[in-house]
Symmetry: C2
Subunit: 425 residues, 2 copies
């Protein structure tokens, strides 16, 4: 059973604020699970007192088999649904999917989401204080893999009293985590839903991650990973995020959203300027070009403002070393290599699965999702592949889509397969 | 006529070095054209003594109508073919296309290629010395547009005695330049060949350019554009180039070329390490991760080495301010906006044209090239569109392709249209 109830049903209310909407999980509190024993990372390095910050929505049932694990992506965290306070501007990152009556129905499921180890939203990561030194771990934090994320989250589920996972769900890095969960804990995982993901990072995805890492590591503020909290390579991290953000969208969606619209009129407005532009003093060159200059490299197009805003907000919520560690974990993810082949990787899987690709995703394109489903089929597994036509790029899995909700609902709520009796083998 | 002959035919030679191959233009010398009068940029700013560095291959004929202008891309320059010395490791950037008997046959055509104004390979740009101050122009160099590149190159052609251009050819930014040449100098331009290009930069392309500019401008070495020669924002420029280079390739070509191959074995070899890694002292963190670190963010995948090598070589041949100026010129290129519509833009064109798109080009995808051809058709122009199936991405136009050579040869050598008599109208 869960230690504390963290989600509160809320009373329907006319003209409701978000957290009081009838299909919203409402106000939620994050919890910490401190592992009672040292956690040994895949690289054999042990870590004392590893903490996972997590949230749960809904209630674990008496048979303890209605749990749904939500796995977050690179820049995500444990706050998947609900609101931390009535004045929050935004709910959790997958609030559109999770709630009473939503596709992941919290009246029916006990939903768990944890910040991954190595992260920076409350779980132990490179920015956490190393008790041995009183300083942040920095690069002394153990090398991180997706397998470490899976194993740590399994310990959390055990702690919460989950007997078996009804479903493990994730997109992007969360999809890799979900795949590996079904592989590593086959007797524990009954359904697998992986979206906008890949069984192995390709050269282009590695290349983008590498440029991001270089932007961070070349920033003098990085200092080999040793920097004060709220300091560090803020410029490098902003550059990395701006670039990565392009890969989450699509040419079509950017053209529709921004096109070639300029912000010359808005630029005159200090209010919007302040909202959109990077106001970090370390990033001040963005707003301080010499007046004597003949050329104008200040903000000119809306898409530039948007990206700078993405960079700015990211550096205030993400740690640069976590970015290095997690992107490296992504790059090293390769199920073929780790298990000999994709079929061998999937051989132990007992979960039935749904793999979803999005046509406009060019980071983990449909083809890479199709390959997962086909390997599952070749390995004799119950699996389906759905390809959704969107023009919203990689981020499609996060965005509102009745078509996606219906797919997920159908997959989660369909009756178990006739072979369920075999499941516990 | 050309002032000096710059291309030397070479004698066939068994087991020949590149510059002595029978279909090579051989050793070439770059020349400088100093504009006799101040050049007024589109932003109304005049510049005294604007210099264009250029090369020519082949000979202008008696009727002075066999000239082919080659327009280079963002990171290209005037050295399109041949060799500067017998010990050069590489010939000009389009040597595979230009030479005696090649697709652009220098036995038949007088081929000209100039470094654009604003560039950094010999033409006057932000890194050139401002005679008024004795210092580099930096951001005091006039704002740059593709139109400025076109107008300056027209003055060079006049200087060389070219009566009319047989063909203007370019890919990527060179394609934009070629389009605008045919629009601005319709009576001078008989054929137009534009490849892997666009009539307007889309939001995604602007976004990538903006991240590159931010990487440069956020580098403390940039100093608002005032930095010593060989100094400046070398790190930022390397990051910008690494990122941009990904957009010139394709997922498929990167997977074939690098896949997920690691360089752990090679890493041990100091020789290859030195060749591949960034050895610039300012970029030294690449090779100097603390030994105490638990995680390894040093080189791991071949694709990372490749990108770092691209970054390293670029900063030794390109100026950061030029990168800002030229990418801004690209972003501002928008024929629809400049002329009211694409049809109106093309209305004055008298050239017959061939537009070529490449299926795997995701920077300026086939669709954007098709739009150019269709607008030319709607404007009543003689045009053809060819789409080549490649998986080499945007750079396809630069790479060996018998299919492309044959297309270009056929376009350049076909007999003039029956309406040639109308041409001079």
């Amino acid at each position: 059973m869960t230690d504390e109830p963290t989600a509160h049903s809320s009373t329907p209310f006319p003209s409701t604020p978000g957290h009081l909407a009838p299909d919203d999980v409402g106000l939620v509190t994050s919890l910490d699970f401190v592992l009672p024993r040292p956690f040994t990372f895949k690289n054999s390095q042990p870590l004392d007192g590893l903490t996972l910050r997590y949230e749960t929505y809904g209630t674990l049932n008496a048979t303890r088999d209605n749990a749904v694990l939500i796995c977050h992506a690179l820049s995500g965290n444990h706050h998947a649904a609900g609101w931390h306070s009535p004045t929050d501007k935004k709910p959790g990152w997958w609030n559109n999917l999770i709630g009473p009556g939503k596709a992941v129905d919290t009246r029916r499921f006990f939903v768990i989401c944890a910040n991954v180890p190595g992260g920076c939203s409350g779980s132990t990561g490179p920015s956490s204080t190393n008790p041995a030194t009183g300083e942040p771990y920095g690069l002394r934090f153990p090398a991180l893999t997706i397998l470490d994320m899976v194993r740590a989250q399994k310990l959390l589920l055990d702690h919460l009293g989950v007997a078996e996972l009804h479903t493990v769900i994730g997109g992007s890095m969360g999809g890799m985590t979900a795949l590996l969960f079904a592989i590593e804990f086959p007797n524990f995982t009954r359904r697998l839903l992986a979206m906008a993901t890949t069984a192995r990072e390709g050269a282009q995805a590695i290349a983008f991650n590498e440029v991001g890492r270089q932007a961070i590591m070349q920033d003098p503020g990085w200092n080999n990973g040793d920097y004060p909290p709220n300091g560090g390579p803020r410029v490098g991290l902003a550059i990395a995020r701006m670039m990565a953000h392009i890969t989450y969208l699509s040419d079509a969606s950017m053209d529709r959203k921004f096109g070639r619209r300029t912000i010359q009129s808005r630029e005159k407005s200090p209010q919007l300027s302040a909202e959109l532009a990077l106001s970090d003093p370390q990033l001040s060159t963005l707003n301080s070009q010499p007046a004597a200059a003949a050329a104008d490299f200040n903000l000119q197009f809306e898409v530039e403002s948007y990206l700078r805003h993405q960079g700015q907000t990211f550096i205030n919520r993400f740690d640069a070393n976590s970015y290095l560690y997690i992107t490296r974990a992504l790059d090293q993810f390769d199920l073929d290599h780790a298990y000999g082949s994709l079929e061998q990787a999937f051989a132990p899987v007992l979960a039935e699965s749904l793999i979803v690709g999005f046509t406009s995703d060019w980071l983990f394109p449909p083809e890479q999702n199709r390959q997962i489903a086909q390997a599952l089929l070749r390995a004799g597994k119950r699996t389906s592949y759905a390809e959704l036509s969107t023009d919203l790029g990689h981020d499609s899995f996060l965005l509102e889509s009745e078509e996606l909700y219906a797919l997920i609902r159908g997959f989660l709520e369909r009756t178990p397969p006739a072979t369920t009796a075999d499941f516990a083998i």
